[in-house]
Amino acid sequence: MWNGSASITEAVQIMAATDLMQSLLPRRTSRPALGGGRHWVWGSGFVAALVLAPVLALIWQALQGSDGLWAHLWAYVLRPALGQTTVLLLGVGLIVIVLGTALAWLVAAHDFPGRKVLDWALLLPLAVPSYIIAFVYLELLHPLGPVQELLRAILGYDNPRDFRLPDIRSMSGAILLLGLVLYPYVYLPVRAMFAMQAAGLLEAGRMLGCTRTHLFARLALPLARPAIAVGASLALMEALNDIGASEFLGVRTLTVSIYTTWVTRSDLPGAAQIALVMLVVVAALVALERFARRKQRFAGGAQRIRPLLPERLTGLRGWAALALGALPVVLGFGAPLFWLLSEAVGRIGEAGISPQLWAEMRATLGLAAAATAAVLAGGMVVAFAARLWPGGTTATLGRLASLGYAMPGTVVALGVLVPVAGLDRMIDQGAQMLLGFGTGLVLIGSGAALVYAYVVRFLAMSVGGIDSGFAQIPRALDHAARSLGDGPGASLRHVHLPLLRPALVAAALLVFVDTMKELPATLLLRPLGVETLATHLYSEAARGTYEDGAIAALAIVAAGILPVIALARIGRRNGAGRRP
């Protein structure tokens, strides 16, 4: 789900990695390394190796399967799953591109009542993980649920057998719901593109005789193509990562197949083989994105940031624009939030908050805190090594350490399980020999394996965030600190850490929230008997019972709103260019 991946921040971080955003930033002049602190580079190598290990383990594991099993797996599991996944990705891709681009153009190039609010409100569906939107709409659109009841009352039917909407549990239902929460991945970069880079170019187009009506097709769309490619590929990675929504809605994607092959059929090599296929799909997505941005090196770092002069829509057209723009927010955020709130309030009024739910909250927060600390530490090592020794080696290590953002949670979990289980056996046997008693599966049982998976999955966020934090600090300060007698470590403590605080806080927030929302890896690696809010919701939805689920979902959505607000503020700061 969502969680994993992507977070928004990730989106921003990855965008920052593209030429698109880089053209907006001042060129960094490369300076010779200061030298010293070679061990930071070794540390960075270690972190990168930690991220790579699960992939290698996966390949090794996949090779264990027998040929006969493979034929069976291909015919009965992999081929249908691949087909379903392809259809899902095509559908979601179409929806997020159309919706994200159209909404960005609506808000960027037009002025109408409520536009300023809509500008950031359109990001809100990011706060709703895909498994929660599916959970909510299964209820809302149930034949006996509120929406259909209301429709029947209006239309004068009194029996569900006489009138019912098409079942949401279908491929088209899954495409619609995923599109509804994933379109902000396209909206965000395209909107930023229109706001920050395109204004001058669109003005230039108009002054060369291009009318407003032609502007979108002739200039805006071609200019936005790289941003659309970045956003759509992120959204599709999220869709690929999703486990809850697809499963609740009856779509047997690759992710769902990995889960069932592993958990239900206990076929680890088979699951690993599906996971490898999934990595191929991811690689194809990345290649597609690269292709879509080909030749799009944006020239000129000198572009002044200037707001686009919007076309004023007055009267009925203005209100129509608002209604149209608000629809995705209402469907993707407002309605789910409202329903969760009313359900949660009802549940708390009846039964209070159960001790079990409190325990799950503690487990969720504890895991998220541990993961955040580990992710920040790893990201700091990688980013600081790149600061000390700028160049090919540290840049490559940084990219390797960031690989996890492209790996679906189930794939990471599977990759982590193999080496960690081996390690657990070694520890157990060692303890038995030395101490006379076994430790059992201490790494998996303690949650360390899960935290490791979170680190692999989310390290990209902290590496990217801390990296861009470093980019804000002039290198002259490093030189000054060193010439005043600080070594690399001391300069990190005295100069960089204090200046990096905002970047660290932002990265921590993102990682923390994404960890809270993470479902696929958590589902597979959580210690026996431990439930988090996300897995609680999953099991309730899977069972079809709806007890504390709304409260758990509400807590996750509430946490998810925090980074969206932060993101909206960043966007506003960047978008509101001062006039010359």
């Binding site: 002054m207 005789g209 009318t211 090196r297």
Partner: protein, 355 residues
């Protein structure tokens, strides 16, 4: 030394009473001026003075709140009318050039020629690229161009649709010093050759003095002065204009009976009230060294070698701020030497002291 103010050309573009505010802050206050056909006008001012906003109003990418803009008899904006920027026939050159990154040079230049027969577009593109000296770059993409090449392509693109007027926003500021003067001279020659009038926004006084037929100095959202460059430099109407256009000296005095007395002489000040504090302004080159007996006594404080000349800073023995004067590099003087100073009274402008 002074030029006669040129007779105002028949107006081609006219701006009348244009104002614009942003978030309640006035960016332009009641601007009026006219531009003749083929004339090159420079808008000069410090950053934030409103010169770019004025340019964008003329282009039509901003709307004025009040006032009217007329080009060749057609009302572009004012009294309810508003012509969209694409219909104005006005070319615009951006400071950052705003070349479309997804189009090559030829397609960038052809962008404004949409709707014409293919052969005609091809011919016009070749023509302007050749005139601008960048025909060999036709297949390149913007990110493959140097600063000077981008500037020429942007100029070619703006001129391709034969605009009625060309607006240029700091068109040379992204170029290196050496390149800037070459490109500037070429650009100006091209505009004259094509007989296109232009409004050029700049913050660089020497650039404005060099290229403008007429020069408008803007300050705090208003046009402080508009005249020929020589006239404005030598006979500035306000102290702000005088100081903005180049180095100068200021000596204080008080108006008495229509004149002010200073250590460097007595100068007429017919417009000032009795007892009003005043400032005498003059350029460094209006001062000359002379025998002590013939001028005001001063001491040499320091001197900066500028290559072609020596800029000397002196203080009057009666006190006051240091004065500067320019001497040939071969001039003989010593640090801390006592010298006499003489001022050409015709080069002195007297202003009321503010505050």
């Amino acid at each position: 030394m002074t030029e006669r103010a040129a007779p105002p050309p028949p107006p081609w573009l006219s701006i009348e009473g244009v104002s614009r505010r942003f978030d309640g802050v006035a960016a332009l206050k009641d601007i009026s001026f006219a531009l003749g056909a083929g004339e090159i006008l420079c808008l000069l001012g410090a950053s934030g003075c409103g010169k770019s906003t004025l340019l964008r109003l003329i282009a039509g990418v901003e709307r004025p709140e009040t006032g009217a803009i007329t080009l060749a008899g057609q009302v572009l904006s004012g009294s309810g009318a508003f012509v969209e920027p694409e219909a104005r026939g006005i070319g615009f050159m951006f400071q950052d050039y705003a070349l479309f990154p997804h189009l090559n040079v030829a397609d960038n230049v052809a962008f404004g020629l949409k709707g014409r027969p293919r052969a005609e577009v091809q011919a016009r593109v070749n023509e302007v690229l050749t005139v601008a000296g960048v025909a060999h770059l036709a297949d390149r993409f913007p990110h493959m161009l140097s600063g000077g090449e981008s500037q020429r392509v942007a100029l070619a693109r703006a001129l391709a649709p034969r605009p009625r007027l060309l607006l240029m926003d700091e068109p040379f500021s992204n170029l290196d010093q050496g390149l800037r003067e070459t490109v500037r001279a070429e650009t100006l020659a091209l505009l004259r050759q094509m007989q296109v009038g232009a409004i050029i926004v700049t913050h660089d006084p020497s650039e404005a003095l060099a290229v403008a037929d007429r020069l408008a100095v803007m300050h705090a959202g208003q046009i402080e002065a508009l005249d020929g460059p020589r006239q404005l430099y030598h006979v500035p109407p306000t102290l702000y204009v005088a100081q903005f256009l180049g180095a100068g000296n200021v000596v204080p005095g008080v108006a008495e009976r229509g004149q002010i007395a200073t250590p460097l002489g007595v100068f007429p000040a017919p417009d000032l009230a009795q007892g009003q504090p005043a400032l005498a302004f003059f350029r460094p080159q209006a001062l000359t060294l002379c025998d002590l007996a013939e001028g005001a006594a001063a001491r040499v404080l320091r001197h900066d070698f500028l290559g072609a000349q020596e800029r000397v800073f002196l203080t009057l023995e009666e006190g006051g701020a240091p004065l500067q004067l320019d001497l040939p590099a071969t001039a003989q003087f010593r640090l801390h030497e006592r010298v006499g100073l003489r001022l050409d009274p015709a080069a002195v402008r007297v202003f009321a002291a503010e505050g």
